[in-house]
């Protein structure tokens, strides 16, 4: 069974042919007959994809072609088959098993959500809405593209980080924001209600205690606790529940200082402080119940035990770190980027990075693992690009180039979209990314 792929008709004798068999873990309509076929070895990913599409079409005449990605021995093919086999030292004598998966690329560029100022923080952990924070010191809630439902008002400095905490259905949603005015604020909102104009909301609780700009917050899985990292080199842990005897007392004490308008607001103090970093704590994540990871400008990534408040281990990087995320296989890999164009991924058990992705050309401002896929993560950089990475190849799967200036933040949304905000005051949404 042979296929002639459209393209420049080369001399058949000069073309080397490879015996391949296409296998997949995809479901029925995407399965091809499990027979080995001979294909020219100079085929690239595009050629392979059209072979598979042809095969599918031969089974199902109504099949619409779709891009595929191909794995050989667990690595994505990113050059011609011949070069790949040469580079990896794989024998072309045997029947080659090529696994194909759906190509992970953004299919569609949604309408950008326009802000008044730089978009500095974004959170897409809730499928119903997108949270953004901006340098105009406002937080915003977006439902789908271009539809802003709520404006979180109250900070006096740029919102540096925003995080969805918990929700009881769609009605009662709790959100936390961190700002450069050294405070964190907690907000409650009802996303369900339909309103034409964005509704302005005030925070129900202000968390004071940091002595410098708060750079990052991370919520505990339950949403009851949040952790924040700040320029004062500390991490603070806060409780988010409304009723706290201590909190109320503090708030009454502080109320004298505060403006009259804040009267209804509660104030809270940190439950505990994690001290150890020597410079600005730029990013925190709280992936498991008792473990917090933090990245800092002192070039280290630290793992904190929440119970004892001590740092359990640290990874030294050598560069200033701006972002960190934990994910991958078994949620065990640490991805971090910073003051150089290299996105590094560590296995916490080893000190040297296990992966280094270096396609960016400037600082990396954000990195996020995909929720479900072990292999996929995104990174945003000051070079204006958001890149989609697969651990199985050193090249980016896709480069989202919709921003015109620095990208400051990026996140996954609904598992199939990448949202990113930047200096061009836009929140860009690239959707249609299926990672199975």
């Amino acid at each position: 069974m042979e296929f002639n792929i459209d393209g420049p008709k080369q001399d058949e004798d000069t073309l080397r042919r490879v015996q391949v068999r296409f296998v997949t873990k995809l479901k029925a309509p995407l399965k091809v007959p499990n027979t080995s076929i001979a294909i020219p070895s100079n085929l690239t990913r595009f050629g392979l994809s059209s072979v598979v599409n042809n095969l599918l079409q031969s089974v199902n005449p109504e099949w619409k072609s779709e891009p595929f990605d191909f794995l050989i021995n667990g690595e994505l093919v990113r050059m011609s088959l011949e070069q790949f086999l040469l580079a990896k030292g794989i024998s072309a004598e045997k029947v080659l098993e090529i696994e194909y998966i759906k190509a992970v690329v953004p299919q569609k560029e949604e309408e950008p959500c326009l802000h008044d100022d730089w978009v500095s923080a974004v959170d897409g952990s809730s499928p119903g809405f997108i949270l953004t924070g901006s340098y105009d010191s406002l937080g915003r809630v977006w439902k789908a593209a271009g539809l802003c439902t709520h404006i979180l008002e109250g900070h006096s400095g740029a919102v540096s980080s925003i995080s969805f905490l918990k929700s009881d259905g769609m009605k009662n949603v709790t959100v936390a924001t961190a700002s450069k005015d050294q405070t964190l604020r907690l907000w409650k909102l009802d996303v369900e209600e339909l309103i034409s104009n964005p509704k302005k909301i005030r925070a129900y609780k202000i968390l004071c205690g940091h002595k410098a700009s708060v750079q990052s917050i991370a919520a505990h899985a339950s949403g009851d606790m949040i952790c924040s990292g700040s320029w004062d080199c500390t991490l603070n842990l806060w409780r988010t529940n409304e009723s706290g005897g201590e909190g109320d007392q503090v708030s009454t004490k502080k109320r004298k200082v505060n403006n009259q308008a804040n009267e209804s607001q509660l104030e809270g103090e940190a439950v505990s402080t994690l001290v150890g970093h020597t410079q600005c704590v730029s990013s925190v994540v709280w992936p498991q119940h008792e473990t917090i990871y933090s990245a800092s400008w002192d070039h280290s990534v630290r793992r904190w035990d929440v119970e004892t408040g001590k740092d359990v281990s640290d990874i030294f990087c050598g560069k200033v770190l701006n972002c960190i995320d934990v994910g991958g296989e078994g949620s065990a890999l640490i991805a971090a980027g910073g003051s150089d164009p290299i996105l590094r991924i560590w296995d916490p058990r080893t000190s040297a990075p296990v992966f280094q992705f270096a396609s960016h050309s400037s600082w990396i401002s954000a990195c996020k693992w995909h929720d479900n896929s072990w292999f996929h993560l995104i990174s945003a950089s000051y070079d204006g690009k958001v890149m989609l990475w697969d651990l199985r190849t050193a090249w980016p799967l896709a480069v989202i180039d919709s921003h015109k200036d620095k990208v400051l933040c990026a996140d996954w949304w609904r598992s199939d979209s990448v949202i990113s905000g930047g200096v061009d005051s836009k929140l860009c949404i690239s959707s249609g990314i299926s990672t199975q």
Binding site: V257, K319, S339, Y382
Partner: protein
């Protein structure tokens, strides 16, 4: 036998007239040959004995005789006939026989040939001589006569072809010619078998030898073989000759009994010499006077020297002009021939391509073909040219170049690799864009979160380092010369110099308590409060600036530089106006009590201010020259003032000059102090950077000539061993400057990186550079209105 002898005598007498007969005789006598030979030998012995006896007397006669032999043949014959002459005749014969024996020994090849030679020799030379000899023999003794007779017989029919290859006669019927010129025909050769059989039968066969020359067989006598044997053993040919005869001493060496003179010993032998005593006296005096010294051992000439040693060194010692040969030019090759073969001649394309080459690479000589040597253009002048060339070679003064063989690598200081000195700023990742004019100055906040910048567009901006966001803008209205963050984190205020004013701005950072404190601090109750001394008021006036929310310090001259003390307690400003300038110290929380009022016109310019009391004071130091910049010591109460030529270091507590650093530069532009405080770097307008180690010397420890244009600023990193300089050539240089705590170790300075990226604007390049306080990053402010951040 006797008969034969007689006959021979007769024959020989006859023969003198007729040689032909001799041959015949010989053939006749051949039968007697053997006997003759024997006789001959015995005769020789006798004759030898004779020789010894008559040696002295006979020699001359014999030689005479021999010389006259040929001419006086007849005479001799007659003489030889007489007995009286027989003695010497015999000798002469004997001499010949001796010769014969010698030739025999020399020949060695064949015993028979020797015999022949003897014969031929007779033939050739002494044909006639034989006759008389024989006769004499005959007269003396029978045997001798016989012998000579036989020899004569042998001699007669000899071959006369001479010493020519015998092959010439190989194919002829004859073997040669006899003395008469007749052919000697070859004998019939026996066939091999017959000859062999004959030889086997013959017991004397081993003595027989075939003479090719005369084509005959010769048989050696016993005597002859004996001689040959002796010669083979290396002995004298004749057994009776003793080579080791005893020496006979002719003189006696006995002592003579009587001396030549018998005179008694003269008196003078016993009288001491006057001359000697004089000489001794002279020496003694000389020694006393010290003219002769015994201490100095004489320099011993080396007794041994290298006979075959190299002469060159001695020639150099002689200090004579040594001949320097002209350098050898390359020998001409085929291509330089007047008529080179075709492959050497370049094509027209190649010739054209030479034109495209660089001057140095172009071949000097292009081969060309000429029909003849004369048609070469230089042929006309060939003689003159070669003459001039010779003159050149002869007259050209030549000097032997003494080249010191130094590997340039060894001269280079051994600096560590750049890779080992990481981290240092290398790549620009962030830019801070927003200013409209050249950014004159930047300053980093203590934590490194923000930077402030002042520009000629009259604005002061604060930027967020991590994002490049401009957070605040103040419109000052005048071109801003210098900005400086207060180093104290409790007082987030900014000092800005613009024109004649220094404005202290409240940045608005920090929490509310800090803000309150700052606002209180920046309140001027009495806006025009003068200092207690009258002239102070005219220099500085304190004003509240409502619009900007700060204090405006109005000076009487343009302020160029503002410098805070490390605690944020006070700052210095520099006004490099004509002769007058001031360095003002503004004390906010004044810990040191160094408020001095030194009233003197020369000190008028030096003032200090106390901000908490809103007071200004002079600094009681006299300055020589125009000040350029001033810096506080990072840890001690020491104050650095740089004038255009020198750096002066003052102790503020003791109020005196500690040190004067001589830069040797034309014009100092900037100064920075190492965080440890013992090292100073100074940038100059001619692009030189001086590093002073103050513990070492008041002269620069290192001068780095790196920038082609003015250095605008220099900076040290607070914690990393880095320093940087920026210049109007749009670059900033980053150096590794490690200062060791060990005083014995000099600072290590390694150039690391040239940071480019800024563009020139109005001839200005990079105006300012500052390190990030905590990261190995460098901020540079460019005249192109951008600020760049270089990260590691």
């Amino acid at each position: 036998m006797r008969e034969g002898k007689k006959v021979s005598v007769e024959v020989s007498s006859k023969k003198n007239s007729n040689n032909e007969k001799n041959k015949k005789n010989q053939t006749k006598n051949n039968n007697n040959n053997n006997d003759n030979n024997k006789n001959n030998e015995t005769k020789k012995k006798e004759s030898q004995n004779l020789v010894k006896k008559t040696n002295k007397s006979g020699r001359s006669v014999q030689s005479q005789n021999e010389a006259s032999l040929k001419s006086e043949e007849v005479e001799q014959q007659q003489l030889s006939a007489t007995d009286s002459d027989s003695d010497y005749q015999d000798f002469s014969e004997d001499d010949v026989s001796e010769n014969e024996s010698l030739t025999q020994s020399e020949d060695g090849e064949s015993e028979s040939s020797g015999d022949e030679v003897h014969g031929t020799g007779d033939d050739m030379n002494n044909d006639n001589d034989d006759g008389p000899a024989d006769q004499s023999d005959g007269s003396q003794s029978q045997r001798g006569v016989e012998e000579s007779d036989s020899s004569e017989d042998e001699v007669a029919p000899r071959n006369t072809i001479g010493d020519v290859p015998l092959e010439w006669y190989k194919d002829e019927k004859h073997i040669g010619y006899d003395i008469a010129g007749k052919k000697i025909t070859k004998k019939e050769r026996q066939d091999k078998l017959a000859s062999f059989l004959a030889s086997v039968d013959d017991s004397k066969n081993w003595r027989k030898i075939y003479d090719e020359y005369n084509d005959e067989e010769v048989e050696l006598t016993k005597e002859e073989t004996r001689i040959i044997r002796r010669l083979l053993k290396g002995k004298a040919p004749h057994a009776d000759y003793d080579p080791y005869a005893d020496y006979v001493d002719w003189f006696k060496y006995e002592d003579s009994l009587h001396p030549l003179s018998n005179a008694p010993e003269p008196k003078r032998r016993f009288i001491p010499s006057k001359w000697e005593s004089k000489k001794v006296l002279q020496y003694v005096r000389a020694i006393r006077k010290g003219l002769i010294k015994f201490d100095e051992p004489k320099e011993e000439e080396p007794r041994f020297y290298l006979l075959w040693g190299d002469d060159s060194s001695t020639a150099e010692k002689a200090n004579r002009l040594s001949y320097i040969p002209a350098p050898k030019s390359k020998l001409p090759g085929h291509e330089e021939s007047y008529n080179p073969s075709l492959e050497y001649i370049p094509t027209q394309e190649e010739v054209n391509s030479y034109q495209l080459m660089y001057e140095e690479d172009r071949p000097k000589f292009i081969p060309k073909r000429f029909t003849s040597f004369r048609s070469i253009p230089s042929y006309e002048n060939a003689v003159k040219d070669s003459f001039e060339r010779c003159m050149d070679l002869y007259l050209c003064p030549r000097v032997r170049k003494k080249r010191i063989n130094i590997d340039p690598e060894t001269l280079r200081p051994k600096l560590p690799s750049r890779k080992d000195l990481k981290p240092y700023p290398a790549t620009c990742y962030l830019e801070y864009i927003g200013h409209k004019g050249a950014v004159m100055s930047i300053s980093t906040e203590a934590s490194g979160q923000w930077i402030a910048s002042g520009s000629t567009d009259g604005t002061v901006r604060i930027w967020e380092v991590e994002s490049g966001r401009c957070l605040r803008v103040w419109e000052i209205g005048e071109s801003v010369q210098c900005v400086a963050w207060n180093p104290s984190p409790e007082h987030p205020v900014l000092a800005v110099s613009a024109g004649q004013d220094v404005i202290i701005l409240n940045t608005g950072f920090g929490n509310e308590e800090e803000q309150k404190r700052v606002e209180e601090l920046l309140q001027v109750e009495n806006p025009t409060a003068p200092d207690d001394s009258d002239n102070m008021a005219s220099i500085v006036s304190w004003l509240q600036d409502e619009r900007l929310g700060g204090i405006r310090l109005r000076h009487f001259k343009t302020v160029t530089s503002v410098e805070w003390h490390r605690r944020g307690d006070y700052l210095s400003t520099v006004m490099p106006a004509d002769i007058l300038f001031s360095v003002y110290l503004i004390f906010i929380v004044f810990v040191y009590s160094f408020l001095f009022m030194v009233e003197s016109p020369t000190f008028r310019a030096i003032v200090m201010h106390q901000l908490s009391k809103k007071l200004s004071h002079r600094i009681p130091f006299k300055l020589h020259g125009l000040p350029v910049s001033s810096v506080f010591h990072p840890t001690r109460s020491i104050f650095f003032v740089s004038t255009k030529k020198n750096i002066r270091v003052y102790d503020l507590l003791k109020q005196k000059l500690i040190k004067k650093l001589e830069t040797g530069l034309r014009e100092v532009s900037s100064i920075a102090i190492h965080p440890a405080g013992d090292n100073v770097i100074v940038g100059s307008r001619e692009g030189k950077l001086c590093w002073f180690d103050m513990d070492l010397s008041s002269k620069p420890y290192r001068i780095l000539k790196c920038h082609p244009k003015d250095i605008t600023n220099v900076a040290f990193h607070r914690s990393y061993p880095l320093f940087a300089s920026c210049s109007d050539d749009c670059t900033a240089y980053v150096f590794h400057g490690m200062v060791y705590s060990d005083l014995n170790q000099n600072p290590l300075i390694v150039p690391l990186e040239i940071l480019r990226g800024h563009t020139s604007s109005n001839g200005r390049g990079v105006m300012d550079c500052k390190f990030h306080p905590r990261q190995p990053w460098l901020f540079t402010a460019g005249a192109d209105s951008t600020i760049k951040l270089y990260c590691h």
